[in-house]
């Protein structure tokens, strides 16, 4: 199956010389949820803006649903829904009119049933006659999402959708994303919140300095890069790591009551068996042991730091 979004050598250099996106080859499969992670100014929004038509590419090509975003922009854009990062809404418009406006803009005829469905799912139905400027910040964000869904997009871009939103909205949004995914909608979201990517994405891309550093299946990524830590709690504190254990990469906690051992689950052997044997040979009594897998956040920080170094 061809990718629903493909870019080939897509770049953006702004007028002031800023290279916002280095040549990018990216394939996004239909129906997947792709999370793009990266610090501010990494190029995430530039990429989305180019695909949606807000920013002109400097070079390269991009296709959405097989349609070139420049030469067949109508076909390409008709498939796209965009929820921008900033809240941008006409303040005096009623919620219902705002959603209808977007549907019309995307060339679709009136469909009140669909709009009602969208508004109900986003808990906006009761507010449909309210003016936008009478709504709270969270509600305004819901309106932005409702507008983006008003024309049944096949590809939905969510640019930092949960930045500064309350727990309710975040939960609703994740539910909505799950629903859309069931309907086969492809979702590309940018986020600062690693837990968001971890919770809902199928694949994760990391962008920094306009470059896609990594793009991988989330599980595979976490397994591949996920180092595990074995924490060994001792019954009696020790002053230093016993000499017989110097062959292991061990960290002694300050209070001398626990040892941390880092290992790679993908390695030939984890070394745990040998370590445990050596621990008992050294006469250390164990109170407890537990293991912990590093989160996406740690992976992300490592990657971005490595880049900056």
């Amino acid at each position: 199956m061809p990718a629903i979004v493909e870019t080939r050598g897509l770049t953006k250099v702004y007028g002031d010389g800023t290279e916002a996106l280095k040549p990018l080859d990216l394939d996004i499969e239909e129906g997947e949820i792709l999370a793009l992670l990266g610090p501010n100014g990494a190029g995430k929004t530039t990429l989305i803006s180019m695909l949606c038509g807000l920013v002109s590419p400097s070079s390269g090509q991009a296709r959405v649903g097989g349609h070139d975003i420049i030469t067949r922009y109508r076909d390409a854009r008709a498939l796209i829904g965009l929820v921008p990062q900033e809240i941008a809404l006409e303040p005096f418009q009623k919620v219902w009119d705002a959603v209808r406006f977007t549907r019309g803009l995307f060339g679709q005829g009136r469909d009140d049933a669909h709009l009602e469905d969208v508004l109900r799912k986003l808990s906006l139905w009761d507010k449909r006659r309210s003016k936008v400027n009478e709504l709270s910040g969270g509600m305004k964000r819901r309106v932005l999402i409702a507008k983006a869904l008003s024309h049944n997009p096949r590809v939905l871009f969510l640019d930092e959708p949960t930045a500064g939103v309350d727990v309710d909205l975040r939960r609703d949004m994740w539910n909505m994303v799950a629903d859309l995914r069931r309907d086969g909608v492809t979702i590309i979201l940018t986020t600062h919140y690693i837990e968001e990517a971890e919770a809902i994405a199928d694949r994760v891309g990391v962008i920094n300095h306009g470059e896609l550093l990594l793009l991988e299946d989330k599980q595979a990524l976490m397994t591949r890069l996920g180092r595990k830590t074995l924490r060994i709690e001792l019954r009696r504190p020790v002053e230093a790591v016993p000499g017989g254990l110097s062959g292991y990469d061990l960290e002694l906690a300050e209070d001398g009551r626990s040892l941390s051992y880092h290992y790679d689950t993908q390695g030939e052997g984890t070394g745990i068996t040998a370590l445990l044997q050596d621990l008992s040979r050294e006469g250390l009594a164990l109170r407890d042991i537990h293991t912990r897998q590093s989160s996406l956040e740690e992976i992300f920080v490592d990657l971005v730091k490595g880049e900056d170094a």
């Binding site: 920013v55 002109s56 390409a76 941008a88 006409e90 005096f92 418009q93 803009l105």
Partner: protein
């Protein structure tokens, strides 16, 4: 052609107009009535007929033009500037629409609004003076062309403006003086010869002259020249708008 989008923009812009109905309709009606009271009745009673027409009636075409030009310009400029200012322009740019459809929606709405205002002023004028329109078809044509070309002109200003000050600047500093000096309240032939020559460089002279001809059959410049001038201005504005969308000037980095 994405007619749904044109309709959506047009309806949205017209809704904005009717939402602020007092400001949209009452203010031009009130200011026109004031002009009639001051110029038509108070001062006009001391002025003889101008080119065979009572002074009160003589200023009607100029007054309509003054309102139509400023309203078309300010409405269209605000219409496209506001989405830029509040950020909702992202929707226009990401929608499957081309520049022609966007312009048609915004400029069409601004032209409609100014046309409505022009009609209201004309209706108001009949309450104060006796009016007969000699060439009704030509009058409508001149009015339509003026509404359309000045709405386009306003659209360009709205794209160009980076702040509200710039948005106000052109209508205030350019359009209003040109209309006042373009023979809205007097016949060019009443000026000294030197100033007459200067006046012929004012494009608005041709519009007001042609429009007045449609009412009374008299004009400062030949009617064909008037039509040519308004057509030229319309084409110039179209060319600039086309260039704006080609290059993404001030809307698309």
């Amino acid at each position: 052609m994405n007619w749904q989008a044109v309709g959506a923009i047009y309806r949205y812009e017209m809704a904005r107009f009717f939402r602020t109905i007092a400001q949209s309709f009452l203010s031009p009606v009130l200011s026109t009535s004031l002009y009639f009271v001051v110029f038509g009745t108070a001062i006009g009673s001391r002025i003889n007929e101008v080119e065979g027409v009572s002074y009160g009636a003589f200023i009607v075409p100029g007054l309509i033009m003054l309102s139509v030009m400023t309203q078309a310009t300010t409405n269209a400029s605000f219409g496209i500037y506001f989405p830029k200012f509040i950020g909702t322009v992202y929707e226009l740019l990401s929608a499957p629409v081309n520049f022609f459809e966007i312009v048609l929606g915004y400029v069409g709405a601004a032209a409609t609004k100014s046309l409505l205002i022009g009609m209201v002023i004309l209706a108001t004028a009949t309450l104060f003076v006796d009016l007969t329109v000699l060439h009704p078809a030509a009058m409508v044509a001149f009015l339509l062309l003026t509404c359309l070309s000045f709405a386009l002109f306003g659209f360009i200003i709205g794209i160009w403006a980076r702040n509200f000050e710039q948005l106000q600047l052109i209508p205030l500093l350019v359009v209003t003086p040109l209309v006042f000096l373009g023979g809205a309240f007097y016949s060019i032939s009443m000026l000294p010869p030197g100033w007459q020559t200067v006046t012929y460089f004012n494009p608005v002279v041709y519009l007001i002259s042609g429009f007045r001809w449609a009412f009374f059959g008299t004009s400062d410049v030949p009617v064909a020249l008037s039509l040519l001038a308004i057509a030229g201005f319309l084409l110039l504005c179209l060319a600039v708008v086309w260039a704006i969308f080609r290059t993404g000037y001030r809307i698309k980095p």
